[in-house]
Structure formats: C-alpha cells, structure tokens
C-alpha cells in the first residue's frame, strides 16, 4: 500500500514563500484532512503531492519513492477537484473511462470497472448524460467515480463538497466516510470546514499561513489543542478565549481581567504577572447558583429545542458563548451566573502555546 511522506516542503511563488517547511507522514490507508483558513496553503500542498506544482525545496515520497521529479501522470494518484473538472464534451461513462483508457486496459475490463463504480455511487442511470445535464451532487459523484475506477495509490480531494448545498454536503460526507471504509485507500482531503474535518479524518492537519499548527486525531485536537489557533479553529461554536493576567491568590493563581478573576490551582510554567489566555469550550461553562466565576448578561439566546446556545457579555470580557443541553429559558438582558469547568480549562502562554489542557479538579 501507499504511504505519503513530506519532508521540509517549501514552496515559493517568485519571492513570496507560501509554504514554510512542512513535514508530514500519511500512513497507508489513512484518511488525512488538511484544514485551515482560506489562503493557508492547503490546495498548494495537495497540488504538490499530486505533482501539479513543483516544490521549491524538500522531498515528497510516495510509497517510499522520491517523486519530486516524477510527472503527475506517473504518480498513480487520483484527484477530485473543487470544480469537479469533468470533461464537458464527454458523457458520464466516457468521463469515467477516460483515465482507464490511458492505461490501455482491455475494453471489457474498463466497462466492468466503470459500471461497478457507477453502481456503487448510484449514477448508473446517468451514464449516457453529459455533465451539463447533472445536478451538483451527481457531478460530484461522477468526479469521485472517475477517481475510484483508476484504483489509485491514493486519493486527493480538494474541497470536493464546497459547491454543494448544506444538506447534500452532509449526505455526501457520510458517503465519503462509507467509501473510505469500503475501498480503504489512502486519502488526503482538503477542506476549510472543520465539521468535515472532524467527521471524516483519521488524522487532521491544521494549517495556518503555510505552516502546520498541529497534527492529530480529531478528538486529540479538540481535547488537547497545542496552541490558541487550533483551540479557536477546531470546534463549533468556537472555544471562548480570554486574555488575562495571572496573579497569585492563596496557594494557587487567579486569572484576572477587568472585574473577573478565575481562581485556579498553581500550574507549572505560570508565574504571577504572566499573560495567560484561558480557553473554555461553550459546553464547559455551566450555570450555577453558587459562587460564580463570571457574571454575565444574555445578549442572544438560540433555542434549538434539544439544545440552547447562549451568547452573553460580561464587563471587560469578549463575548462568551454557552452551549447547554435541553431548553434553557433565558432571554436577552437576563443576568447569568457562570461557572467554568476547571477540568476542561485550557491555558495558553503569551506565545500562544498550550500550557495546560484541563486542570485537576
């Protein structure tokens, strides 16, 4: 099978370096998702692996072999483009058969593969149509089918679902997950949608500004973000991040900002006077009747029936988001007493690196 290894990959367009030295291991059969904000270099990295862009320096290995100088055509990969890149003048069948004809397979073999893939993707009825006569979701399937039939060493997807509407996106997401369990190839998938990343990936690579911020399993990233960026990027709604200053308070510390002081036990690496950002996910803030950590006022409450999102403000703090199960009946202007769950509290130093992910109770 096929593993893909990137070693110190750099890419410049003219004088501008857009990828600043990326190392990455993709194990054989793994589903890896590149996620990050727009312009962070996800597509560029994927195209480097595909062989559509040359690296400025560094090494790309596919299945142990250095492929830096190998043409895209010889790398044995399949790519699904954001625009689908279907050949408009060919029928669905021809589109799917095109890549196979390159490898001079016998007709019957091609026919069998195309029909199998079409069956699997439920596009058999459209085999004789042109792409123009298909819906977005159907085109997407054809694009995926075109990749599947070739039995590639690895699949590369560049935001394949971003042109679909929300409902279809969820459906296709499930199908992709199913597809991966069924055919089990190495897959690299680019998206800027962190829900897609969380649900599909064995391993997520968070990119920002041409650098890897963190690599890990989805829940790893969620539970133990290594820095403020990952903490804020993974999870929806995003983690509440509050910049504070540490002060000593009894045996422990107190994270202070404006009128708020969050008492925590002593943490190695934080001294009084340090700038500390604390992060707390919306579901880890609770309403309390006892001594509150934060006194806040509701600005908006979103009732979804099964759960409630509450957005509130507290003096001197950024907006705070709460995610509560069930129906919490509050409305704008109501005062809230908030308690922060210390076991799920994340602390980041002035450089943005994580100091602690969860404190002892």
């Amino acid at each position: 099978m096929t593993d893909i290894v990137l070693e110190d990959i750099r890419k410049s367009y003219g004088p501008v370096e857009v990828i600043h030295g990326i190392d990455l291991d993709v194990a054989s059969g793994e589903f890896v998702v590149f996620v990050g904000p727009s312009g962070c270099g996800k597509s560029t990295l994927l195209r480097i692996i595909a062989g559509l862009e040359e690296v400025t320096s560094g090494t790309v290995r596919i299945g142990g072999e250095v492929v830096n100088d190998m043409r895209a055509a010889d790398r044995g990969l399949a790519m699904v483009f954001q625009s689908y890149a279907l050949y408009p003048h060919m029928t669905v069948y021809k589109n799917m058969a095109f890549g196979l004809e390159n490898s001079k397979l016998p007709r019957a073999e091609i026919d069998r593969k195309v029909r199998d893939a079409a069956e699997m993707l439920q596009i058999t009825p459209y085999l004789d149509r042109r792409p123009k006569a298909l819906s977005g979701g159907q085109r997407q399937r054809v694009a995926i089918g075109r990749a599947i039939v070739r039995d590639p060493q690895a699949f590369l997807f560049d935001e394949p679902l971003s042109n679909l509407d929300a409902e279809l996106r969820v459906a296709m997401r499930k199908e992709l997950a199913l597809l991966h369990t069924r055919i089990g190839g190495t897959m690299i998938y680019v998206t800027h949608d962190q829900t897609e990343a969380m649900t599909l990936a064995d391993k997520i690579v968070v990119l920002q500004g041409g650098r890897v911020e963190q690599v890990g399993a989805p829940l790893d990233l969620y539970n133990r973000p290594q820095n403020v960026f990952v903490a804020g990027f993974i999870g929806s709604p995003r983690m509440n991040l509050v910049e504070t200053v540490a002060a000593s308070s009894g045996d422990g510390l107190s994270l202070t900002r404006a009128g708020t002081a969050l008492a925590i036990p002593a943490v190695g690496g934080i001294a009084p006077g340090d700038a500390v950002t604390f992060g707390i996910r919306p579901e880890h803030i609770h309403l309390t009747d006892g001594e509150p950590d934060i006194l806040a006022t509701v600005t908006v409450a979103e009732q979804l029936g099964g759960e409630t999102y509450i957005y509130c403000e507290a003096e001197g703090l950024p907006q705070i988001t709460l995610h509560q199960p069930g129906q919490v009946l509050v409305s704008a202007g109501d005062p809230l007493k908030l308690a922060v769950d210390r076991t799920n509290l994340h602390l980041f130093g002035a450089d943005g690196r994580a100091i602690a992910n969860g404190l002892a109770a």
């Binding site: 595909a50 062989g51 559509l52 043409r71 895209a72 055509a73 010889d74 790398r75 044995g76 990969l77 399949a78 790519m79 483009f81 625009s83 890149a85 050949y87 408009p88 003048h89 095109f98 890549g99 390159n102 490898s103 123009k132 075109r146 070739r150 590369l156």
Partner: protein, 334 residues
C-alpha cells in the same frame, strides 16, 4: 488637493458633452412630440438604415436588375432587357470541370483559381493559426509581445500588405537579393504561375493569420485549466490531451474560423490584385477580379455579365454566411 484637481478636470472635460446634450434637448423633444416615444428608436436607427439602404440594399437590387439586361449602356433606362441570357452565357459549358470548354472561360478560370486558392489558403491558414494559438497559449517568454506581433499585419491595409511583399518578391526585390548573395539564381516569382499562386496564398495567410489566431486563442483560454490538470493526474499523454480534450472543446471556434476564412477566401481580390495583377496571364485571377475586369477594365464594359456573376458569387456567400450564423449560434448556445 489632487482629488479636487482631478474633479475639476473631470468637470471641465464633461462640459462639451453637457453642452451637446443641452443643445440636442430641444430638437429631440420636438421630434419625440412628432413621432411619439415608440417612434424614437426608429429615429435613432434612421441614419444607419439610410446609409445601409443607399449603399448596400439598393445597389443589391440595382445589381440584380442589371444582371437581367444586356448591352453596354450605363444608365438603367438605356439598357435592354435580356432575361436570363447573361446567366445562360455564364453557365454555357460543355464540361464544368474544365474551364476551356466554357463559352465564358475567364469566369470559370476565375472560379477554378479561387477554388484552388481557397483550398490551400484556408487549410494552411487554419493550421498555422491553430499552431500559433497553441504556442501563444503556452507559458512562453514575451508572450504578450508575440501576440502583438502576430496580430499586427491584420491592422495593415491589404494594399500596404501587397506592396510590402511586392518589394520583397520583385525581380530586384529583397528575396532575390538574398538568393543572389547566397550564390543562387534569381527567381522571377511573378512570371511563374505556380510561384505567383504560392505567393498569393502565402501573403494572404500572412496578412490574416493574426485575426484567426486571436479567435482560436480566445477559445483556448476559455477551456478551464483544471480539465488539463485532471487529465494530467489521470496519466493522459500530450497527444491524447490534444485530440480528446483541446480539439473537441476548441471545435466550435475552429468551425467559426473555417467558415469565416472560406467567406473571406471567396472574396479574395485586393491584396492579390495589387501583388500579381491576376497574372501571369490569368493564373491568379480570381472570381472577384473577373467581375471587376468585366465591368470596368474591358474595352467593352459588360455590366450585365458582371452583375450576373456578382449574383452568383453573392449566392455562394449568402449560403456561407448562413452556415456561419448557424455555427456561431450553436457555439454560443453551448
């Protein structure tokens, strides 16, 4: 500061326009009162319609009327009705494939020459334009410069083009000077029928290629680049990419180019007339030149016959134009 200066300049530049509009307001309002709001579009179209009518439509009918008359008189009232006699004369042939067996052999020689000319000129014109467009569409150095260079001859008047090449090709022209400097003999290009035809074709390709290259280049650039990337990742060879992706997607543009080149080819006259004068003999005399000679340069000015030949030529062009419209419509509807 600069902003206010700019603003002032803009106001100043707008003054004449404003003045013009003010000046037009009263007469236009008056006209509108006369013809009503619905009549106004016609008023705006009138100058163009009048021009088109006087210089195109009316001559078309006059020409047709002339083709049904005989004699050498210029004024229609002096001409004698001859029915389809002129057409019968043109088409009086024993064997249409062989101009010499026709009564009006110069007409058929013109058609024959035009056919030969079109066959080679259109094939090579399309081929060269396609190759040039493909090259100019690649990431080459100084691409903008080369695009301009290839388009430049299109801007020249046909007469200028012909004169430039005449200087090059004459007995004491540049090319012969070059041949002599290589120790070769001079070639009298305009004395040999084959050379004359060759250069007629060559020069007209040189002059028009830029235009067709531009159309094809636009077509090439309209092909989404990710189709090529998809094909590349799929391991497609360059030839297969060209024949299975580029060519089919470029085909509508190519068809437009072919039909346009045919239409222009049928009408070939000015640049070759200046270059070779139709000679040697009638070797490069084309159908339009036949019409021109018959009507204006012969001792006996045979307007009726020229008009009849024009009608025949016009019919051919009409059919080609319809084809071109159909092709364009098909392309634009995808």
């Amino acid at each position: 500061m600069t902003a206010t200066l700019k603003e002032r300049a803009a106001t100043l530049a707008a003054l004449p326009v404003e003045f013009l509009f003010r000046a037009l307001e009263t007469p236009l309002a008056f006209v509108q009162r006369l013809v009503g709001v619905r009549g106004m579009p016609w008023v705006f179209l009138l100058p163009n319609l009048a021009f088109f009518g006087i210089f195109v439509v009316i001559p078309l009918f006059i020409n047709f009327a002339f083709s049904l008359t005989g004699g050498t008189a210029l004024y229609p009232s002096d001409r004698v009705y001859a029915g389809t006699e002129q057409y019968a004369f043109l088409f009086d042939c024993e064997n249409f494939a062989d101009p010499i067996t026709c009564r009006e052999d110069r007409f058929w020689k013109g058609i024959y020459n035009t056919a030969v000319f079109i066959f080679f000129q259109v094939s090579f014109l399309v081929l060269f334009s396609l190759v040039t467009a493909l090259v100019l569409n690649m990431k080459i150095r100084a691409r903008g410069f080369f695009r301009a260079v290839f388009f430049f001859p299109v801007l020249l008047s046909p007469v200028v083009v012909a004169l430039i090449w005449k200087w090059i090709l004459l007995r004491d022209g540049l090319l012969n000077a070059f041949l002599v400097s290589l120790g070769l003999d001079k070639i009298l290009f305009f004395v040999s029928p084959e050379w004359a035809m060759f250069w007629a074709i060559f020069v007209s390709i040189w002059a028009h290629m830029g235009f067709y290259t531009l159309i094809l280049l636009a077509g090439l650039q309209a092909i989404p680049p990710d189709l090529y990337e998809a094909a590349e990742v799929d391991g497609t060879s360059r030839e297969r990419v060209f024949f299975r992706i580029t060519l089919p997607l470029l085909w509508p543009n190519l068809l437009v180019v072919i039909v346009l080149a045919l239409i222009k080819g049928v009408q070939i006259f000015d640049e070759v007339f200046v270059l070779t004068g139709g000679g040697p003999g009638t070797a490069t005399q084309f159908i339009v030149q036949y019409i021109y000679n018959t009507a204006f340069t012969q001792q006996v000015q045979n307007f009726g016959l020229a008009a009849a030949a024009s009608v025949v030529l016009g019919t051919v062009l009409f059919v080609l134009t319809l084809t071109q419209l159909a092709v364009t419509r098909k392309r634009d509807n995808g």
